[in-house]
Subunit: 91 residues, 2 copies
């Protein structure tokens, strides 16, 4: 994987040992938070990958943890799809 | 509130400053985790209280944080209702 692909996507912070990407998403109200969580649930069921999600009424922190020290394409794609869900906003 | 009411419910651990109760719930599969999360969402919408929820495929950690150092009855009731949701299991 070339460097560009392994780079941390915009807005995500990287943590090492174990390698993980974190991002906090803020929402105007609980309905939007739920819509985002429902989108991520569909993403997880489609991809078979379940990130750690930490949420309350108006925020969700997504943590994508990699197996080793390598950025797995499948999980990098999950991060990009997560961003797309957030951009799309409530249905 | 008498002592019994302020006691930490069974299975919950207490943290101080700020006062909070935590409990980890384990599930056999994602469907059961989702059913529990949906029950808690309904509980939050009915009570207007939104705990911090940290979950992945088969576990949910519920954190109930109190405003001051006093166990608020409304939040203690939320903890008991959370246990009831877990006991009930999937619909």
């Amino acid at each position: 994987m070339d460097e560009k692909d392994a780079a941390v996507p915009e807005g995500w912070t990287q943590q090492k040992r174990p390698l993980a990407w974190n991002k906090r998403f803020e929402f105007a109200d609980y309905a939007q938070t739920r819509a985002f969580l429902d989108d991520l649930a569909a993403l997880s069921e489609a991809s078979g990958y379940y990130p750690n999600l930490n949420f309350a009424r108006t925020h969700v922190v997504v943590t994508i943890q990699f197996e080793g020290d390598e950025v797995e394409p499948r999980l990098r794609d999950f991060a990009h799809s997560t961003d797309a869900c957030a951009r799309r906003g409530p249905g």
